[in-house]
Symmetry: C2
Subunit: 205 residues, 2 copies
DNA sequence: TTATAAATTGAATGAATGTTCAATTAATTT
DNA sequence: AAATTAATTGAACATTCATTCAATTTATAA
């Protein structure tokens, strides 16, 4: 009885427009009214789905973190080869795929919110911790398969994450394309070096 | 003739209040009106000194980056001993001094602005680059003094910075005090290890 | 066709925003 | 004391903001 609910689909649409506008103009310059204008709908419709702007922002954070997670995804082709899986992840992280997949500006913009919003902080913390767990799992698997010789898996994983976060922090300020790619390649090499892995051949994506 | 100008002193006062409010409530929740209310002055006075809110924010960014720079300052006592100087810097960076000196939340908040504001981007880029130059200078001096055995000074300095930025990115989400300090100590050790320096004794601060 | 439930609109709200301008107060020099 | 310059106030501005609520449109099931 009654009309079919479009709730979830519509919410996602709204968040996508929110994302694209905030990517262009910044989080603080993106209002509900502007999102509505871009979608050619009434602002009150956005409030209808997200009760407050706060909730809308939480939705955006969820969306962003979901995208972020994708970078760590291992393709089916490499799922059963622990070494290839690890190489694929490292490859994805230090590649243009990163930039294609999502916007660093928004990632840092929402990250800055973690300092004043406990919910956002929890979302970020949980995501980052789960990614660490995931990477530790892969490393552990490599060790079990005799591919890697490690004693402290957790520290090793942490070193990789420090490298990632530190690398992109400065990289985001490098506008020269050549320098950007050069650095990216160096950081990838460094990651492989930390893992005592050598980049022998192409890895399926 | 006429009244003495308080301009610079007053501007600094305003920025300090801006800083403290933004630290507590976030950059986007801190308006000119709120700053004025806190100072018990008229909002138009703030506009009188900073013509637009934009300029006010630039003032804040300057203020924050100046504070940031202080962490890399070497005390007079260690200025002539290249090894001690380097140890002091590393010590300062991976210590509570960092948090005492300034707020990471605002640092990241302004950092997020770099993605949409060219001026802020330039300010950040120039600061970070000048710090790299500075560290390279110290490392170079250590090499000249036979304290350090390095070939590629620039890469070495970059590795240190990646460690710093990567470390604090995750650290800012660690709320457990014990874990925080434990990690901090480990990252400091790692920095020293990268530099092939050993932490022998206390260093004057 | 009618009942129902969700989607959507539209108008209105009050509060807060940054900014303006003229008027006033306060300090300093001649 | 008069002139001068800066500090500061106070009132007003148009905009934008998130949010409210009632009314209307649209799709689906009975």
């Amino acid at each position: 009885m009654g009309r079919k609910s479009l709730k979830e689909a519509r919410k996602k649409e709204i968040i996508k427009v929110f994302y694209s506008l905030a990517k262009k103009n910044g989080l603080e310059n993106t209002s509900i009214a502007k999102i509505a204008a871009k979608m050619d709908i009434n602002p009150s419709l956005i409030i209808h789905y997200f009760q407050t702007r706060e909730d809308l922002v939480y939705g955006l954070v969820d969306y962003i973190l979901d995208k972020y997670k994708l970078i760590y995804k291992v393709s089916a082709a490499n799922a059963n080869d622990s070494r290839k899986a690890l190489l694929e992840i490292i490859g994805n992280i230090f590649s243009k795929k990163w930039n294609a997949l999502f916007d660093d500006g928004l990632f840092y913009g929402c990250y800055a919110m973690t300092f004043h919003d406990d919910k956002v902080r929890d979302l970020y913390k949980k995501l980052l911790d789960s990614l660490r767990e995931m990477l530790m799992g892969h490393i552990e698997q490599c060790r079990a398969d005799g591919v890697l010789d490690v004693t402290d898996v957790e520290t090793l994983a942490d070193n990789i994450f420090v490298l990632i976060d530190g690398a992109y922090f400065y990289l985001s300020l490098v506008s020269d394309k050549a320098e950007y790619e050069q650095r990216l390649a160096r950081y990838r090499q460094q990651a492989l070096s930390i893992l005592h892995l050598k980049e022998v051949s192409e890895v399926a994506g």
